[in-house]
């Protein structure tokens, strides 16, 4: 499979602060690659270095197998960028904005006209083609931001937190759209703070912090890495003696009673639910409803990057 993005040992310093510390990345064609990290972890810096907006101290960047430079216009022609902040002309209409950004890549007027109409249809802005950005809602504005980045049908698209401040309907629509673009052959690099989004659409995820890669793999591969496994919740009146016995079970990390519910956190093991129910049975406690949740990407993220607040 063709290597779309290859970054090797990228180092970027802001005076004494190391924003990227020998950061490496490789993304194959057809992937939806999730880049996760807390604020200031270096995600946007990495993307800006890859796009040659930021200078860097050391490292190698290749896109489509070729070195990426400021003047690599042939490579840039195959890239689409949807920035974190909505970046459009305030005075131009929806259609004019998409036409302008498409025009940075496509010179043929007739071809561009078709692409602009397709992009408007893709993000659902056909009814707003004459509207100015300031008249659009937050969700529509985000969709315009996306349309401007993808109208020219790029092969590699960078989405930098495209669903920030967007309502659930628009978010769902955006995620479906990204999956459609991927299905049509585009490779996606996706950064977000929303773990469930990344888990939902990304084929591979990288977790980074302080400019370094902490973990990389599929969601399932990452979940295996973490200590915490299932979370079991049981509606039951549990005595203190029974609770102590459950806490002493193998694979149980913690157990507590919260608002009439027994909450048990277990390590990854095969018979956690059965073991807990057996202890309740021994204590002649009849359980009500039972929930068992596997670990989420958020659990993985918090365990890897820590729970302390970031600036």
């Amino acid at each position: 499979m063709e290597e779309m993005v290859l970054v090797k040992n990228l180092v970027k310093r802001y005076d004494d602060v190391i924003a990227l510390d020998h950061f490496s990345l490789d993304i194959a064609s057809g992937e939806i690659f999730g880049l996760l990290g807390p604020n200031g972890s270096g995600k946007t810096t990495a993307i800006n270095c890859i796009l040659q907006l930021l200078s860097y101290d050391k490292g190698e960047i290749k896109l489509f197998g070729q070195p990426m430079t400021q003047t690599s216009y042939d490579i840039k022609r195959r890239i689409g960028v949807v920035p974190q902040n909505v970046a459009v002309f305030e005075s131009l209409t929806v259609k004019e904005n998409i036409d302008y950004f498409c025009g940075l890549y496509v010179t043929d007027k007739r071809e561009r006209k078709r692409l602009v109409l397709e992009a408007m249809e893709f993000v659902g802005l056909e009814d707003y083609e004459r509207a100015r950005p300031k008249k659009l809602s937050g969700g529509l504005l985000r969709r315009l931001n996306i349309a401007c980045g993808i109208a020219h049908k790029p092969q590699l698209i960078f989405f930098d937190e495209p669903t920030v401040a967007v309502d659930p309907q628009s978010r769902a629509s955006i995620l479906v759209g990204i999956q459609q673009m991927n299905a049509q052959g585009a490779t996606i690099v996706y950064t977000s703070h929303y773990m469930e989004e990344v888990e939902q659409i990304c084929t591979r995820v990288m977790i980074m912090d302080k400019g370094k890669t902490l973990a990389c793999g599929t969601s399932e591969e990452l979940k295996v890495l973490v200590h915490a496994g299932e979370k079991i919740t049981i509606e039951a009146n549990v005595s203190q003696a029974a609770l102590m016995r459950i806490q002493s079970l193998d694979h149980v990390i913690s157990a507590k009673i919260n608002e009439g519910r027994l909450e048990v956190t277990c390590e990854n093991a095969e018979h956690n639910v059965a073991d807990v129910l057996a202890e309740l049975s021994k204590a002649k406690i009849r359980p009500g409803r039972i929930w068992a949740e596997p670990p989420t990407l958020q659990d993985v993220f918090l365990e890897i990057t820590g729970r302390e607040l970031r600036d």
Partner: protein, 416 residues
């Protein structure tokens, strides 16, 4: 590149504030100038001086004086096409070219009363004249009662009557020294007419008008305010200043084409606004540009490019927000306009003094160069001065672009 030009143009035209400084402000200021200068222009026009004359006696000195009055003035009776035959010198009286508008009365008392009674008129009598001992005596209204234009009228009346007295003195001298000469009809004729001892030669294409220079300075200021167009447009092109700039920088259009397209769009906006201001001055305010419209357009075109380059240079100053850069531009334009003499007669005199004492300062003042370029096409019959000013403006444009080239070329930054 065409798409950059097209959408930069649309964006600039629709951006609030751009047209206010580059178009609305110059038009409003032009209109204010029209209102301000109309009274000055009126004063500068040749006005007939209204005067009361006690009808001279029918003796020889009276007839001579009457002939003189017919030469320099006209009366209500002239306008009506007839008066008493003694006052009809047979000349073609033209009220517009006459120095004096004479009202004849029979007594001095009547003259005094007429002057006093008409003091509050729109154009009152500046005084009255009575012939005593063959020489005119002039009585004018006091300085405290006189307006500025009346004071000028009093001076004109005194000068005219002094000329007559001097001529009569010459006749007396001639009669004493060479009585035979007075029998020569040519000598008599020359004494009856005003001497033309100087020849008027026009050095400039058009009569210089004092107030026109202010409009030229206004065009200089209006052009330089076009720099704000460059500042706004280039802010949207730089990745380190706007997220829009960053997005444009990752596009597949070459950076040089983006910059060139943006500069061309800025120039078009600036030039169009200046052309509208010029058309307003030329056809509505009816400022005389010496009929050199084509040359004026060349000046406007280069002035627009100069303003765009100035905007680029200011835009390239690092670590200053857009408002700060616009503040710098406003300061530069106002300061340059001061030394171009925009803010009234004292600043025009200051500008003239600087031109004489420190001409090098004119060379580095773009507002002065633009203003003087218009002056040169209006008043000089040679294009040499114009070419000089255009050359200086071209050099300034080049210098401003050189100052901004480092910033314009940059695509990658240490931080965003």
């Amino acid at each position: 590149m065409l798409i950059t030009i097209r959408y930069t143009l649309i964006n600039l035209i629709k951006t609030p504030g751009i047209l206010i400084w580059t178009l609305v402000f110059p038009l409003v200021l032009s209109t204010v100038f029209v209102a301000m200068f109309s009274s000055i222009d009126k004063m500068a026009e040749t006005q007939t001086v209204r005067v009361v004359v006690v009808s001279p006696p029918k003796d020889s000195s009276g007839v001579a004086f009457q002939a003189f009055l017919d030469e320099v003035g006209t009366s209500a009776a002239d306008d009506d096409g007839g008066r008493d035959s003694t006052n009809d010198g047979g000349r073609d009286a033209n009220p517009e070219s006459s120095l004096l508008d004479i009202t004849y009365v029979t007594t001095e008392e009547e003259a005094k009363t007429l002057v006093v009674d008409h003091l509050q008129d729109e154009q009152p009598y500046v005084g009255y004249v009575v012939l005593r001992d063959g020489l005119p005596e002039v009585f004018v209204i006091g300085k405290q009662s006189a307006s500025e234009s009346q004071s000028i009228g009093s001076s004109i009346l005194s000068l005219v009557m002094n000329a007559y007295s001097e001529r009569m003195s010459l006749v007396g001298q001639l009669a004493a020294d060479n009585p035979a000469a007075l029998e020569n009809p040519l000598v008599l004729k020359s004494l009856g007419t005003q001497a033309q001892v100087t020849q008027q030669v026009q050095l400039t294409l058009h009569h210089p008008q004092e107030t026109v220079r202010f409009y030229f300075a206004l065009l200089g200021m209006a052009a330089l305010f076009g720099g704000s167009v460059g500042i706004v447009a280039l802010q949207l092109l730089k990745p380190n200043i706007s997220s829009l700039g960053a997005r444009r920088a990752v596009g597949a259009m070459s950076h040089s084409k983006s910059v060139a397209g943006t500069i061309i769009a800025c120039w078009i906006v600036c030039f169009t606004c200046l052309c509208v201001t010029f058309a307003y001055l030329r056809f509505v305010v009816q400022i005389d540009f010496g009929g050199q419209d084509a040359a004026a357009l060349v000046i406007l075109a280069l002035a627009s490019l100069l303003a765009t380059a100035l905007g680029c240079a200011i835009s390239s100053i690092p670590k200053i927000p857009e408002d700060g850069k616009n503040g710098i531009l406003t300061g530069v334009v106002c300061f340059a306009s001061l030394f171009a003499g925009l803010y009234g007669q004292p600043t025009m005199e200051l500008a003239d003094a600087i031109s004489k004492q420190v001409p090098a300062l004119d060379l580095i003042n773009p507002a002065t160069q633009i203003s003087q370029a218009f002056y040169s096409i209006t008043y000089y019959d040679s294009y040499e001065p114009l070419i000089g000013h255009l050359l200086i403006m071209a050099i300034m444009t080049f210098v401003f672009f050189v100052l901004s080239v480092q910033s314009l070329r940059r695509q990658r930054y240490a931080s965003l």
